[in-house]
């Protein structure tokens, strides 16, 4: 319950706060710091962020839940995002998603039992010219064939 930011994170938050005229404006950046610090954002983290920014926990949850890219509690070590919007759909992203579902033994939206992978079908990742597109945590892979996807997954530490 009594969660706290590390010394390093607190220093980073102070630097962030200096960049905005209001504390609230740092909500997304501080959630990013918290995401890194705690590996995901659960209720306790939201309370900590709220206290840090003089907001109510409900306000922080309202912001957190509006945005899809912040790590939800329970997500795996690697979040695999397959773009499913039109341009990618025209170039076979469904095949890539099917392949990953089969390989990982989970459906899109689920996490493997070992908590290593979470598979998500997401909306446009702005790489429409190089579809199908797969984002693995912060890394973007383009023109991803099933074979290439296998190689990417196998290369992950």
């Amino acid at each position: 319950m009594s969660l706290a930011f590390s010394e390093r994170a607190r220093a980073e938050i102070d630097r962030l706060l200096a960049r905005y005229p209001t504390r609230g404006a740092a909500t997304l950046p501080v959630l990013r710091v918290a995401e890194r610090e705690f590996g995901g954002i659960d209720d306790d983290v939201m309370v900590l962020v709220a206290d840090t920014l003089d907001l109510s926990p409900a306000q922080v949850r309202g912001v957190f839940s509006f945005y899809t890219h912040l790590r939800r509690p329970g997500w795996g070590k690697y979040v695999l995002q397959v773009c499913a919007t039109l341009s990618c759909a025209l170039r076979g992203c469904e095949g890539l998603a099917d392949h990953l579902e089969a390989r990982l033994g989970i459906r899109a939206g689920q996490t493997t039992p070992d908590r290593r992978f979470t598979l998500l079908k997401v909306e446009c990742l702005a790489r429409c010219g190089e579809s199908p597109v797969l984002q693995v945590n912060d890394d973007m892979y383009v023109n991803v064939t099933p074979a290439k996807a296998d190689a990417i997954l196998e290369s992950l530490p």
Partner: protein
């Protein structure tokens, strides 16, 4: 002062008037859900649309200031079509459970559905299902009825600054909720139930208690503290069922506190004294008023004959109206020449100032200012102790206790010496040790049973209207008038609130120039008090 034309009619409005309010001067306010005059406009429901000549499509009227030369229609075909569209959208996931919904009858979604809806839905897809949930000690949420107008979140952001509620997720998954483990428990929380335009936010206190169209209503003021928030009292089958705020820009704007709403349980408490009781030799009899009056008269006469006129004392409370206080003063000071007249103080509560400036007074004596203006008295336990000392020494032999209060607060010293009195008359709202020792018990009338006026802590004289029948017909004013008559006097102005107020205004300079009728629904400042509406939002915001 822009001049504009609305539905063919020219109108001039103050600079900055929102179009929706300008429309209200000519016709009805355009139908709306998210707009609320006590909150910042948000423009999300898209219902209050109007057609403005020269502008493409339709425009919402709740965020746009009226401007010079605007030509506006609230009934343009495009407007009607847009409204019908919004209504249809709002109902696609709605459970249509009006028959079991608390809000039915005062739900604007229901009203607008009759006026602007289609009658039948074209939606055949699955509805989103959301189970109801608890939001705190006083409020529950029926999320399927929520239309995401954000009135409640804006109230909690702007007025209380507590922000317990927020929208989670987005799009049509947008879900109103609290943060887990952080219930809504602020002093003004129930206002969000009032302003919820639908039956999503429900007061647990009112849940399933009455259909609103069966409620009797009276405009009055709240007696829970000395602020005097304007309220509507509502009853069902003779029982006070609900208090809701009544807008008054001078006092409470659109709001009232939870304490005020929920502090009236004593009115229907089965232990509340409802009979006139005479006690003799440790035996009690229920008696009629004339018999009680005769006993009081005789008792007073005996004491005065044996110990002189000054052997009489009086104790009043700030639950008496100005008119009642006026009669009490006449009785105790002019007729009986009482040695001491003191006022009992209610224990202070917690003061509260909301972010918006809305106040709950720590002073829980609702008519403290009236007590001061009418009788020059201040509620003061020390004065009551001095009275007790006079009883102890035998200087006072007869005591009249008038008005009562919802929670007994008689000092120990007074209770301890009560048995020395040759005559103890106690009028009260609840049982107490003092009441148990009275020779004559008179039931007091509760605020929702009173016709009269209070003065709030800003010096505003405001009317109370009786919604319920007091235990003794005629209430406290009637009892006091009858007492005066029993003692050979007569109440001024015929003894009714209007006449007594007129007498008060004639004799007391603080009431000079006021008449009971002219107090109106919003009250008037007593002479010398400031008369200034407060802005609805906190300064500087």
């Amino acid at each position: 002062m822009p001049r504009l034309t609305i539905n063919g009619q020219e109108v001039e409005v103050p600079q900055g008037t929102l179009l929706i309010e300008a429309c209200a001067r000519v016709t009805e306010k355009p139908p709306h859900f998210c707009y609320h005059p006590g909150l910042r406009p948000d423009g999300n429901c898209r219902m209050c649309m109007v057609k403005i000549e020269g502008m493409r499509g339709v425009s919402i009227s709740c965020t746009l200031p009226a401007a010079e030369g605007m030509v506006v229609s609230t009934e343009h075909p495009e407007v009607l079509a847009a409204r019908r569209g919004v209504m249809e959208f709002l109902l696609i996931h709605h459970p249509l459970d009006c028959p079991v919904c608390d809000k039915a009858g005062e739900c604007i979604l229901q009203d607008h559905s009759y006026d602007h809806g289609r009658g039948a839905s074209r939606y055949i897809e699955p509805k989103i299902v959301r189970p109801k949930r608890d939001l705190g000690p006083r409020i529950a949420l029926w999320p399927e009825r929520c239309i995401r107008c954000s009135r409640c979140t804006r109230f909690l952001d702007e007025v209380t600054g507590t922000s317990e509620l927020a929208f989670f997720e987005r799009g049509d998954r947008t879900d109103l909720d609290i943060f887990p483990g952080r219930p809504i428990d602020n002093p003004l929380s129930l206002n969000i139930v009032d302003i919820c335009p639908v039956g999503a936010l429900i007061s647990k206190d009112f849940l399933f208690r009455a259909r609103v169209w069966n409620l009797r209503k009276k405009a009055s003021v709240c007696a829970a503290c000395s602020r005097g928030c304007n309220v509507v009292l509502e009853s069902y089958e003779g029982k006070l069922t609900r208090l809701v705020p009544r807008p008054n820009p001078h006092v409470n704007h659109h709001w009232m506190c939870d304490h005020g709403r929920l502090s009236h349980a004593y009115v229907h408490d089965p232990r509340r004294p409802r009979q006139i009781v005479k006690r003799e030799d440790a035996r009690s009899f229920n008696v009629a008023l004339p018999e009680a009056l005769e006993a009081i008269r005789a008792g007073l006469e005996a004491v005065r004959a044996a110990h002189g006129a000054a052997a009489v004392g009086g104790l009043v409370t700030a639950w008496l109206t100005n008119e009642e206080l006026h009669l009490a003063g006449r009785l105790l000071r002019d007729v009986l020449g009482a040695r001491r007249l003191v006022a009992l103080a209610a224990p202070p509560g917690e003061a509260y100032v909301a972010k918006s400036g809305f106040r709950i007074a720590a002073d829980r004596n609702p008519n403290r200012a009236g007590l001061e203006a009418v009788l020059g008295l201040v509620p003061d336990d020390e004065a009551v102790r001095a009275l007790a000392a006079d009883i102890e020494t035998g200087a006072i032999r007869a005591l009249l206790v008038l008005g009562g209060m919802p929670a007994p607060a008689y000092p120990e010293e007074l209770v301890a010496v009560a048995s020395r009195l040759e005559l103890l008359v106690v009028q009260d709202l609840v049982p107490s040790a003092l009441l148990d020792r009275a020779h004559i018990v008179l039931p007091a009338a509760a605020a929702p049973e009173k016709h009269g006026s209070f003065i709030n802590d800003d010096g505003r004289v405001q009317r109370l209207e009786p919604l319920l029948v007091p235990p003794v017909p005629g209430g406290d004013l009637g009892i006091l008038g009858a007492l005066l008559r029993a003692l050979g006097d007569r109440p001024p102005g015929g003894g009714g609130a209007v006449g007594v107020f007129a007498d008060l205004a004639a004799r007391n300079e603080r009431f000079q120039g006021l008449t009971f009728q002219e107090l109106g629904d919003l009250g008037r400042p007593r002479r010398g008090a400031e008369d200034r509406p407060r802005p609805p939002h906190a300064a500087g915001e």
